[in-house]
Every structure is written in structure tokens, then in C-alpha cells.
Symmetry: none
Subunit: 229 residues, 2 copies
DNA sequence: ACGGGCTATCAGGAATCTCTCAGCAACCCG
DNA sequence: CGGGTTGCTGAGAGATTCCTGATAGCCCGT
């Protein structure tokens, strides 16, 4: 199975590098460009499976890039990146077809999750599963629902993202820095103690329902979601 | 089961692309042209199951396109697209047979619903079901009627479209942007708060009749119609 | 013209979430 | 065993998100 090809389009080199590095690490094949016309060219030649497209580009808007692509018969799904304070009417009309959008600053784990969600929807026959199950805990990513042995657990958005990151890296120790970098928005500049807080929140909600604690503390290193196999 | 073939005829490329993308994503096989004579040619060669036909075309009117097709023995059903301020006598007389019409701007969900309705009528033995039932709620799409446990509920047009969209994506979280893009007309440029309002309207009408709330709020994400399985 | 239903906006308040902090517990080392 | 370090968790301020009643404009049929 050849890797999934992602085209990243953003004029800020920092964002490009951030996305390229982490998406490549997540197993995608990444190509990145910095403006709209390069994007159209690269989309035509490179035949990507999905495009990450900033809506504010120096030469042309991301909206026009997709219009151009659609008129050329290229209907690759697009995940738009937009500044949070962008007026909302610029966003409406973007999520046609399998498209979606994210506001900057985003979190890297969320980007990967959205990409997989879009690919799941557009090529539905594929294997990719919306269910993430480790031990007694099960996540339905379509419904954003979390179950422990058939009982549903209610999590806040950040709790949900943290648990998903821990579970998709089950049986692997993650440092607080790694967790912070993947689960929190990339411009977060608070303390790492917040990871401890949210691990505590999750434990308080999950552990009463499991036979043994789900998140192990590796003192001096980080945390690990353990699958009782 | 091979996909249903739709021929889109409109001289505005924006509309063509919008329709092509979203209909393709909805599972149809789409071919699109920009004028009347191309439409006749494509209808003859492509053998579509339905035609989406703008009544105002540069070379010939949509009315003449259908006349030409009928005289050639091609009686494929047609869904006319017309501007809102078009005089109505131009519209009447068009919708003979299984035909129908929609005024621009339309909503994407409504287009798909109309196409399915027409196909249901013309090839009635087909599989597509006019009834949409999730949990305690049942929609009869032919009659535009909504029932909760055998009691009919009266909904406004927008409430009905929103409920239908939520129900046809039951057990999947939909963001407010997605809802806005599918349920509201494509040129709507208001705020997303209107989705909250209409969810509130629907809840006020449905929840008194159900054993548990039908629409769940996924805070920070969107809304989901939940089927109590 | 009038009334009624519908759409869309807005604002106040309710509910929930995020993040920090501080005190305490647990652990590790000598 | 004692001191230093690291992790845990309750409390709470501030921010965000959501809900809903009030309201104005619009269109439609009477």
C-alpha cells in the first residue's frame, strides 16, 4: 500500500515546515508549496489524495484555487486552513463535498484526525476505521463518542483529543512535551502542568469504569496508555 | 449497482462546479455542459438518468432544449433551475411529466432531495425509500410530513430541511459550517448562530414527544442526531 | 391594509471549558 | 530517614460556547 499523498499550501514557511514534518512523521507523503498558482500546478501534476489549503495566499485566495481545480475536473478533497478571526462568511460555502476547514492555530493531532476523517468519507470502501479501540476503551470518531465497556463517557473537547492521542499511541510512552506539541494548539505557551491536569480529569472519568487504570505514569518520562491484552 | 448519471446544464461555471462537486460527493456520476446545444448532444450520447437544466441559457432556452429532446424521443426527467424573479408563466407548463423546478439560489441538500424524489416517481419500483426513519422520528419525504411516534409534527420549511439533513447523517457529528453549507441557500452569508436557533426550534417541537432528546450538542464540534438503537 | 407565519439577528444569561495555582502525596536518592 | 523532586488534584477566575426569548422585516393570502 503506497503512502497517501498530501499537498500543503501555505505562504508562511513556519507553518509549511510544521505541517510537512509532522504529517511526514504520521506516515503521509508530503509536498508543499507557497502560493496559489504553484498549488494548481502541483495538484495537477502530483495527483494528491488531499490538499491542505490556506485561504489567504499572496497571489490568489484558496477559494479561487479550488474553483480553478474544480473547473479542471480535479475534485480532490480540500482541508482549508483559516485564521480564527477571519469573518465567518468567508468560511461558509467552503465545506462542499468532502471538504472541511480548520482554524489557525490548530493542533497537529487534530490535523491528522481531520485528514483521516475526510479520506474515510471520500473513499468509504477503504479499510480505515472510524473506531479506535484499545483494551476496554472505545472511541467512535464519527460521533465523537467514548465508551468504556458499553457505558458512554462524556469528555470535553480537550479531554477527547488527549485521550485519542494517547490511545492512538497505545503502549508507547509519550513525554509531556510531545503531548503538548500534538494535542494543544501550536501557539500554546503555557506550562506542561496542564497535561497533568487533563490526565487527571480523564482518569477521574474513566478509571471508575475500568478493571485497572488506563493511563500509566512513567515517572520522569511521561504517560502511556496501556492495553490490557 | 452502477451510479445514477446526472447531466448539469448551466452557463455559470460557479454553479456548474458547485453542483458537480456536491452531486459527485453524494454518489452521482456527473457530466456538465454550459449551453443548450451541448446539452442536447450530451443527453443523446450520455444517456443520463436526469438533467439539471438552467432555463436561461446563452443559445437557447431550457424550454427549447426539452422540446428538442422530446421530439427526439428522449424523455429523461428534467429538474429546471430558474432565477427567483423569473416570471412564473415561464415556469408553468415546463413541469410536465415527471419534471420539476427549483429557484436559484437553492440549498445543496434540497437539490439532492429533489433529484431523489424525481427518480422515485419515474422509476417507482426502485430501491430509494421515501421514508426516513431514525429512532422515534419518521419523515415522509413525498408528503413532507414528520411524525414522532404516530403524532404528526408541524415544521417550517427550514426546520424540515435541517431535520432531514441531521437525520440522513444520524450518529455522525455535523459542524455548524457543514449544516449551513448544506441546508441553507448557497449565497447565504449570515452567521452560524442561525443554526443554533433552528436547532432550538426543532427541539422545542420534538422533545416533548420523545422519550429522550433527539439532537445532541457536541460542544465545540457541532450537532448530532442520535438514534437510540 | 392587515394579520400571521417564517426567517434572521441579537443580547442576556446559563452552562461548560480552559488554564493556573497551591498544597499535598508519592517517589527517588543519598 | 529526610530532603528534593516529581506528580496529583481540588478550587477557582476568566473565557468560551451554547441556549432561548424578544424582536424586526419580509412575504403571502385574505
Amino acid at each position: 500500500m503506497e503512502p497517501i499523498k498530501v499537498l500543503v499550501v501555505d505562504d508562511e514557511p513556519n507553518i509549511r515546515d510544521l505541517l510537512s514534518t509532522s504529517l511526514r512523521f504520521a506516515g503521509f507523503s508530503v509536498h508543499s508549496v507557497g502560493n496559489g498558482s504553484d498549488a494548481v500546478f502541483a495538484a495537477e501534476k502530483g495527483n494528491p489524495d488531499i490538499i491542505l489549503l490556506d485561504v489567504m495566499l499572496p497571489d490568489m485566495s484558496g477559494f479561487n484555487v479550488t474553483k480553478k481545480l474544480r473547473s479542471m475536473g480535479i475534485d480532490v478533497p480540500v482541508l482549508f486552513l483559516t485564521a480564527r478571526d477571519e469573518t465567518e462568511d468567508k468560511i461558509t460555502g467552503l465545506t462542499v463535498g468532502g471538504d472541511d476547514y480548520m482554524t489557525k492555530p490548530f493542533s497537529l493531532d487534530e490535523i491528522v484526525a481531520r485528514i483521516n476523517a475526510i479520506l474515510r468519507r471520500t473513499r468509504q470502501a477503504e479499510t480505515e476505521e472510524s473506531l479506535l479501540e484499545v483494551g476496554e476503551v472505545r472511541i467512535n470518531q464519527d460521533a465523537h463518542e467514548v465508551f468504556v465497556n458499553e457505558t458512554e463517557v462524556d469528555l470535553s473537547p480537550t479531554e477527547y483529543k488527549l485521550l485519542r492521542f494517547l490511545m492512538s499511541n497505545a503502549n508507547r510512552v509519550l513525554t509531556k512535551a510531545q503531548i503538548l506539541d500534538h494535542v494543544w494548539e501550536y501557539d500554546f505557551n503555557g506550562e506542561m502542568g496542564i497535561v497533568e491536569s487533563y490526565v487527571s480529569y480523564i482518569r477521574k472519568k474513566l478509571d471508575p469504569l475500568t478493571t485497572e487504570p488506563v493511563i500509566q505514569t512513567k515517572r520522569g518520562v511521561g504517560y502511556m496508555f496501556k492495553s490490557t491484552k
